[in-house]
């Protein structure tokens, strides 16, 4: 049963359009550093507001990736 150990790492990502775009932004950046990402859990969702407008949609993600043997 190879590849049975995975790591979970936490990232925070922001987008100026939506939470779902922020998830994509975060996973893309994470994917440039680690291989074999298998999923992510949305731990928190926040918005940043300035002058009454939402200027950032922010997610905290727990990203899981399988470790190479």
């Amino acid at each position: 049963m190879a590849g049975t150990v995975a790591r979970v790492t936490e990232i925070t990502a922001r987008s100026d359009t939506s939470f779902e775009d922020a998830i994509r932004v975060g996973l893309e950046r994470a994917g440039s550093t680690v291989r074999n990402i298998t999923g992510a859990w949305v731990k928190e969702q926040k918005v940043e507001v300035s002058d009454g407008r939402i200027v950032a949609w922010q997610v905290d993600l727990q990203v899981t990736f399988v470790l190479d043997d």
Copy 2:
């Protein structure tokens, strides 16, 4: 005060487009089994990733439905 007892049941639903579509998918499936669904609470949100792309948006829902007398 008839119909004052409701049940809460947990389901997991997935969509390949968005979390909100996953909620609709889950409620539709739940509605084929039980009647009188009144709402749902989003307990968890996760994404599944393969080859660097999000292949499923998954929600864990606590679905409430009123019990018939």
Copy 3:
């Protein structure tokens, strides 16, 4: 270091289109009462269902706003 104290207040907002619209609805209403909102944390997400259809997307938000000196 002026303006270093902020308040956090909880609101519940609903939309008939999406969670993200509910967040906008809630922040707009909050912004009519308090100034200097800097952000909000999404504490809960729920949907209301009637006759098998989602009739409201509801969010509980913890809204932060800086207090004037």
Copy 4:
């Protein structure tokens, strides 16, 4: 050691007199569907208010019942 597996199911019950009456209402309704209820844990307690008066005492219960072999 027969009968060693139990199920836990969540219900919401309301009464217009008290939380304790709501627990009785919920257990009575649950008992019309399943046998061998052994207990319940009070997960949440809420009141509904209308025109300044409490119109419903509501409990969320985790009800345990032993499964037949």
Copy 5:
């Protein structure tokens, strides 16, 4: 969809007779300041003891009230 935004505020109330009386005391006081209270969630229940006797039944309530447009 008017009146879709509500506020949630936390109060602590005490009674010398019971938790349920403390809830009534708290909601009555809250109702003298804000309108349109729709409900309350019982967050905590405590008793104060003096000379071996319970001298106060205390509840922490999260009170919800709808904001006027």
Copy 6:
């Protein structure tokens, strides 16, 4: 500032009439062992059911008592 240290101890108490009676039963028993009880926090509330009837109202209490100098 004498007597500024208190201990917190957890007990479980049952009554066949109500949660509030169970709290009294628990505090009375605790008071036979320790002095200077100042309060208790209701951590959990459960009921035991037999043959469809509630046979015990059970509370888990965190009891606080001031330590003598």
Copy 7:
């Protein structure tokens, strides 16, 4: 994407040998009622003691099973 909705149900199972045996006992009993169990999460682990000896190893499991279309 067929079969994308799963249910999560909670059971309590006991064994007189070990927690891991209790998990097997619980899953076996659950499998006699529902099909397509895909996994379980161990929510709680308890032991029952009598005369100073452990007489039961008990687990609370959240069991997931895929719903047929």
Copy 8:
């Protein structure tokens, strides 16, 4: 038993010297708006860092104050 209802409100305060100073800053600002503050619970503690140095000690406080009759 006058004055038996209190409100709990959440604030965030910062200091450039310590957490305890941040608590004092927050209570001082809160005290300029409400009377009869009786205490505060430290909900979170954070530091802000810039160029490797701590530039702010931040606390989230739940402040309790007794409501006038």
Copy 9:
């Protein structure tokens, strides 16, 4: 209804073979001080590691024992 009050006390126990042995070790030690232990809840499970090997299996237990009348 004699013997209806129980105490809950927390202990930490370690074994060099397994978590289940640690539970036995803890209950044995607890049983040398208090009578009438009825059960224990496993609150935490940890391992201690030295030179890449597990040198201790540690459990935090909430032990319940009935108080004598």
Copy 10:
């Protein structure tokens, strides 16, 4: 592996100068009753306020001490 069982007990301690002093006050008092204290976890931090001034810094501690064989 002697002395492998420890107890965890909860105390509340107050100081009129700081949280860290309250921790020292609490451990000193606990040390007058039990031997072999190995550590403490800070569970809560609160302040008491009177006339706008902090009159007590209070900590809730989970104190661990090794049991003699």
Copy 11:
């Protein structure tokens, strides 16, 4: 006081025999990347089921290792 800073990292490990074997598998893999592992906390325990049989015992571990100076 050298070596006083440690890192905590989360891994997920699976075994086809038991939870305790999964812990060993995870720590072994972690030990091939980092030195000076001092312990691990078992955050979650899950089983994977296929055709009614447990095919994997999975643990989520928070692994602590001391950082070199």
Copy 12:
């Protein structure tokens, strides 16, 4: 919007003088490995005790640092 992804990593740091010194020690060590630390959240606070004296003030920190593009 460059630099919108941050990582969150957990460290444990100790000092023999105070919690605040432990935070500084931890951030200094973290800063020798990663750049662009923007803050830290205090997750836990513990003390180690030996012979009745506090010998270490320990903090668990969640450290956030912005990832380079």
